[in-house]
């Protein structure tokens, strides 16, 4: 209502300002790419290390034009995305189940607290070599790294949400006739779900990062593998091409999750979304 009123009275300036901001954003990106290209052409930036946009774009175009083969970029993207989704889903399920159990059972939580804190303190990316040794260079090691990254985010989100759930909500449904099961499924899990949705974009981003890093360290296929391969041949254009593909995937993933988050948060006041 207030938003509609604001648009009605100030429609023209608001749109004009929005366009101006968009113009500035494009300008900043164009300047960045232009500087890169220009400094590289002038020899200030060494092409060997930093490549240049005019080489990177055709390279990516070449990858895309290659068509669907076992070694194509599409296969790499497919594998990376599968690893991301599996890491995300398994990590989330484990985080919810264990986070819920620990929040509901104080003794369990207290007993496992030091161990979990210890694991959480380890920068998880250093576990990548361990997982590659243990699970091999295929899918499993990439998923395992993603799971350890996602698990802690979701675990803490669920644990805090369930532990700190408004007691009035619980008391109210109990007097209204809720059984234990109803309290779990109508109050505690929805409260946790809302916290998980809020951390959705962070945890999915971590699942993606986990997959790419593990691929980079040891794999036969995937976008991370493509970067590692290029690096092995001192092919900086290939490395940057891979980075651009990763950035594009990450942006697409985030845009999709933003829509999902909005849909799941539609019960929340706008300022809290």
């Amino acid at each position: 209502m207030t938003a509609a009123a604001a648009t009605a009275t100030t429609a023209v300036p608001v749109t004009r300002r929005a366009w101006f901001i968009r113009f500035l954003q494009v300008l900043v990106i164009a300047t960045f790419i232009g500087l890169w290209e220009g400094l590289s052409q002038l020899g200030v930036l060494d092409k060997f290390f930093y490549s240049r946009p005019s080489l990177i774009v055709p390279r990516i175009w070449g990858w895309l034009a290659e068509g669907f083969t076992a070694t194509s970029i599409y296969r790499d993207i497919e594998v990376t995305l599968i690893e991301t989704v599996l890491g995300f889903v398994i990590g989330t399920i484990a985080g919810v189940v264990i986070g819920y159990a620990f929040a509901r059972n104080r003794l369990l939580g207290q007993a496992f607290d030091p161990l979990l804190s210890m694991f959480n303190a380890i920068p998880r990316l250093v576990l990548a070599p361990v997982f590659i040794l243990a699970f091999g260079i295929d899918l499993a090691s990439k998923v395992a790294l993603g799971v350890t990254l996602v698990f802690f985010i979701v675990f803490f989100a669920t644990f805090t949400a369930v532990r700190d759930v408004d007691q009035t909500l619980v008391d109210n449904v109990r007097v209204l006739g809720a059984r234990r099961r109803d309290v779990t499924f109508q109050v505690l899990l929805p409260a946790a779900f809302s916290a998980i949705v809020a951390s959705l974009r962070t945890s999915a981003g971590f699942a993606f990062a986990g997959a790419v890093v593990a691929e980079y360290i040891g794999s036969s296929v995937g976008v991370g593998r493509r970067i590692a391969n290029s690096e092995a041949f001192f092919d900086s254009t290939g490395v940057f091409g891979g980075i651009v593909v990763i950035a594009a995937l990450a942006l697409a993933l985030d845009a999709f999750l933003q829509v999902a988050e909005g849909w799941f948060s539609r019960w929340k006041p706008r300022r809290e979304r």
Binding site: L169, D171, V175, L176, P190
Partner: protein
């Protein structure tokens, strides 16, 4: 006829972990016959809200017995309606989904749920807001939705914990009048907690004044004002004024005592 609510020799001691236990209420003897509207007034911290937790079974009494609708309270009771002071609607459910909850818990058939939910959301004037989420409603509307949620299950006893304290004066008077109309029609027993003596007298058949904590019953006053009442206009009735003066003399001492204690503690 058995009393709807009966407390005998009830006390409640809270034992928070790593803190001193403290006695919230003690020596409570109170019986409420069916259909009676009883208000409990007292200074803040006198354990008024504790009374409702004990009657609903959300908390066990430390000593004494609590009886509700003729049976001893040993666990959470679902044959009462509890209107909490704070917002108790589930924020991720719409008004009609919230109102449907008690019926779903009782596995009432779907068509009947729809009928009763529709009836009650309309009765509290939220028909147009059935599909709205709680945050989209005003404070008064959320309270009405809470009332519908409780009433749809048709409880014999209503427990209300300062239900209107967060509302502005106009909305509050409107809600009090609506409550009077609904109560007059339904004949339910009501145990109403408030710190507002005027509200207590305007609504009730009887008011109970409590002492500063640990809460004891200090005095009980029957309210013999004519019904049906208009809660704003009844305040000018001579008997209202006389009763107010007597009860306030009791309450004032307790409020002062409670205030002095809070100063000592800080």
């Amino acid at each position: 006829m058995t009393d709807a609510v009966e407390l005998r020799g009830v006390s409640k001691t809270y034992r928070p972990p790593r803190k001193m236990p403290f006695l919230a209420i003690t020596d409570i003897d109170l019986a409420i016959p069916p259909g009676r509207f009883v208000s409990v007034v007292g200074p803040s911290g006198c354990g008024k809200s504790t009374l409702l937790s004990l009657v609903s079974g959300l908390l066990p009494a430390t000593t004494g017995t609590v009886t509700l609708n003729g049976s001893l309270v040993t666990d959470v009771r679902t044959d009462v309606g509890f209107i909490f002071q704070r917002d108790a609607l589930l924020p991720w459910k719409t008004v009609s989904e919230n109102v449907a909850l008690p019926l779903e818990f009782r596995s009432v058939p779907r068509p009947e749920i729809q009928r009763r939910v529709g009836e009650w959301t309309a009765r509290v004037g939220l028909g147009k807001f059935a599909d709205s989420y709680p945050h989209e409603l005003s404070g008064g509307m959320r309270k009405r939705a809470q009332l519908a949620q409780v009433m749809v299950g048709d409880p014999a006893v209503l427990l209300m914990d300062e239900p209107f304290s967060a509302l502005d004066v106009q909305t509050r008077n409107l809600m009090e009048n609506q409550l009077m109309n609904a109560w007059g029609a339904a004949g339910k027993t009501v145990l109403f907690i408030t710190h507002d003596l005027e509200e207590a007298i305007a609504l009730s058949d009887e008011i109970v004044v409590m002492t500063a904590g640990p809460g004891r019953i200090k005095a009980r006053y029957p309210v013999d004002l004519p019904r049906p009442r208009h809660v704003t206009e009844i305040r000018f009735h001579p008997e209202f004024v006389a009763l107010y003066e007597r009860a306030w003399a009791d309450l004032r001492d307790e409020v002062t005592r409670s205030y002095e204690r809070s100063l000592e503690a800080s």
